[in-house]
């Protein structure tokens, strides 16, 4: 059981970081960014290129992933989502645009980075072995888990105490009121999207050391991120974090406890999620009014 809990906590930390960027973009612009997973994949490939191919330090690779995706996110918001949100009152317009961007990024990833699974050398060797394999955790996972928690904490502090963070929270709470108070919606929307995409890039860069990266990871990553956001409550940062840890723990427990019944873990998770959403559609921490 100790191992199951350790696996769940690690998965939860990485999932929470994935969900944060998605929920931020949703909170600011009401956009369901279906391309979030593809942005995560690009982040992984950038770190792979910088760290494994060029041979620069790992941290440079992660920073390059964050910077690259921040630029991609800003451009996507300025030239794609921004104009569509201004011109169209229909929410499905942004959803279709996001799906289109996801397909486009998949094609770009295939062209730039190829079809193969990629991995990087371990950043830390060795395994933490407690009480003769009662709990086993490779040191690189512990480090990545710690970095993920650190990144989550930094993000919360930034959103809580910086001027930009306060402006974005104001936008998320009430766009019209924020505008009346002098918040530049377009400017902070670009920053918000860039920040959300940057988080996807950073987590892609961090996790390439553990899971590797390949072209096909984008779609499934987006689906998991949406699940976490649904569990925690769309557009609520603390909800995304809670959703990440809950999903990680459910996955870890299910894969061990239900293993003898076959691959039914996600069946159980999805069924539970349906029941949960029927009772509480706004998620754990979301507000019923939006």
């Amino acid at each position: 059981m100790e191992q199951i809990i350790a696996n769940g906590l690690y998965l939860g930390a990485q999932y929470a970081l994935i969900a944060l960027g998605l929920t931020l973009i949703f909170a600011l612009m009401n956009v369901l960014n279906f391309a979030h997973g593809q942005m995560y994949v690009i982040g992984g490939f950038v770190t792979y290129t910088v760290y494994a191919q060029i041979g620069m330090p790992f941290i440079v690779g992660v920073l390059a992933s964050g910077a690259t995706l921040a630029v991609v996110g800003a451009l996507v918001q300025k030239f794609l989502f921004g104009p569509v949100i201004r011109k169209s009152m229909r929410e499905e317009s942004t959803m279709l645009l996001a799906a289109g961007i996801a397909f486009f990024l998949d094609a770009v990833i295939l062209l730039l980075f190829g079809e193969k699974q990629r991995g990087v050398p371990k950043i830390v060797n060795g395994i933490f072995n407690y009480n003769d394999f009662t709990i086993v955790m490779p040191y690189d996972r512990i480090l990545v888990g710690a970095l993920a928690i650190l990144a989550i904490a930094a993000f919360i502090l930034y959103m809580q105490y910086s001027k930009t963070g306060r402006a974005m929270r104001a936008l998320a709470q009430d766009k019209v009121a924020a505008q009346l108070m002098g918040v530049n919606v377009e400017h902070y929307s670009i920053i918000g999207f860039a920040l959300g995409a940057m988080l996807a890039g950073v987590v892609g860069g961090l996790l390439v050391t553990i899971t590797g990266i390949n072209l096909g990871m984008g779609g499934p990553t987006s689906i998991k991120a949406f699940m976490m956001v649904m569990i925690g409550g769309a557009g609520v940062i603390s909800g995304a974090i809670a959703g990440g840890f809950i999903l990680g723990m459910l996955e870890s427990i299910g894969l061990s406890v239900l293993a003898s019944y076959g691959d039914i873990t996600y069946l159980v998770i999805f069924a539970s999620l349906m029941v949960f959403l029927a009772i509480r559609p706004q998620g754990l921490m979301g507000k019923p009014w939006g």
Binding site: L11, K116, N214, D263
Partner: protein, 399 residues
């Protein structure tokens, strides 16, 4: 005005001359008639690696043939033209792809890459006289009354028993566990493996653990399997993208036994994803290990690498289908538009295997498994991964 007209005429004539000049060498190069060979398989999305190694193998070989004057079939010399269709691993798209091949009067197609796609295209292929070379294992595709599908590789129910027996005899394996993705190909491969292991008298300690195809962290998946302490952990039907993560997770959980797969893997992917933890991993390969690769195989690898930047070890097996099609057509040129002639030739066909050292032959096999010759004889090379490379563990043949 006159000057302008003269200028325009000069530009026009010069333009015609440039276009004609550019076209002339192409016309010379295009003097050969085109022999179009199709590919229907997955080249995008999560499983893109399966089909891309197929397509690139075909394109590399076709470019090589065309650069050296084409392929002579009967009295005519042809340039090989590869017509591709991405089925996105969707059976409905695979049917559309095969219908496209039929509309374009293509009679020989490589693919699809997976079981359901290969089964879905069967009616289209049979109705439109198309011989196709799937990388799918269901026996119903190859036993009578089916006759248009030719298995392009060694099936797991052929390689699995050989690997388990070798490991039982040489490494003392007694307890075996299976883990696979929860989709049709890996599940059927796992079931075949379980049967083969039972037949050999091995104790199966775990066989019902599966994982979602999109799993990226395999530690929770393997935790219950590793606790059973098998001597051999079989990764049934494992995709090259997942193999390194599974190996790494198992080793990091303290697993000390052997690991194997009956699918082709890529040494560089294993090296990047699992490093030294992959040492000793056993998989089925093709013909590029140093012990058996001919100079032609080495040149193929070099040309592939030059054309696409990086070689894929899966192509060691996938280089063969196009070769079989062309060599069979060379043996019986009437088959070029008549698949009945092709089928007739398959029973007696034999040609030197250019990719292997020694006197290995290209021939159709499958009598034991399918009751008719509906499989290409690719060498069943069982490899062991060691320090970034595959080494040949043993070589066997399918009859």
């Amino acid at each position: 005005m006159l000057n302008r007209r003269v200028f325009m005429r000069t530009v026009f004539v010069a333009g015609i001359a440039v276009v004609a000049g550019m076209a002339a060498p192409q016309q010379a190069a295009a003097a050969n008639e085109k022999l179009r060979i199709g590919f229907v398989g997955v080249t995008s999305g999560p499983a893109a690696a399966w089909g891309i190694s197929n397509v690139r193998s075909m394109q590399t070989r076709a470019a090589w043939i065309n650069a050296t004057g084409g392929v002579k079939i009967g009295e005519k010399t042809y340039d090989v033209d590869i017509v591709t269709f991405d089925d996105q691993k969707d059976p409905k798209r695979a049917i559309a792809g095969m219908e496209k091949m039929a509309q374009e009067k293509i009679h020989y197609v490589v693919g699809p890459n997976v079981d359901d796609g290969a089964a879905a295209v069967r009616p289209v292929a049979e109705q439109n006289n198309i011989i196709y070379f799937p990388y799918a294992f269901p026996k119903s595709l190859y036993v009578k009354p089916a006759s248009n599908a030719v298995l392009g590789m060694v099936a797991n129910y052929q390689s699995g028993p050989a690997i388990y027996k070798y490991l039982k005899d040489k490494k003392g394996v007694k307890k075996i566990a299976f883990v696979c993705a929860n989709e049709s190909d890996p599940l059927s491969q796992r079931d075949g493996g379980v049967e083969a292991a039972k037949a050999l008298g091995l104790e199966i300690v775990s066989s019902n653990v599966t994982y979602q195809v999109d799993t990226t962290d395999f530690t929770p998946v393997l935790t219950p399997v590793v606790s059973k302490k098998p001597d051999l952990l079989v990764l049934s039907g494992v995709a090259p993208a997942n193999a390194p993560q599974l190996i790494r997770a198992a080793r990091e959980l303290g697993y000390k036994g052997l690991m194997s797969a009956e699918t082709a893997q890529d040494a560089n992917v294993l090296k990047e994803g699992a490093g030294d933890l992959a040492n000793g991993f056993i998989s089925v390969g093709g013909a590029s290990t140093p012990e058996i690769a001919s100079d032609t195989m080495k040149e193929f690898v070099a040309r592939y690498t030059k054309m696409f930047g990086e070689y894929n070890d899966e192509s060691n097996t996938k280089v063969y289908a196009l070769e079989y099609i062309l060599e069979t057509l060379k043996t019986n040129p009437k088959a070029i538009n008549d698949v009945a002639e092709f089928k007739k030739t398959m029973d007696t066909f034999s040609a030197p295997n250019p990719y292997m050292k020694g006197d290995a032959k290209l021939k159709y096999v499958g009598m034991t498994s399918f009751g008719q010759k509906r499989q290409v004889a690719v060498p069943m090379v069982v490899n062991e991964y060691k320090n970034g490379k595959f080494a040949t563990l043993f070589i066997a043949e399918v009859d």
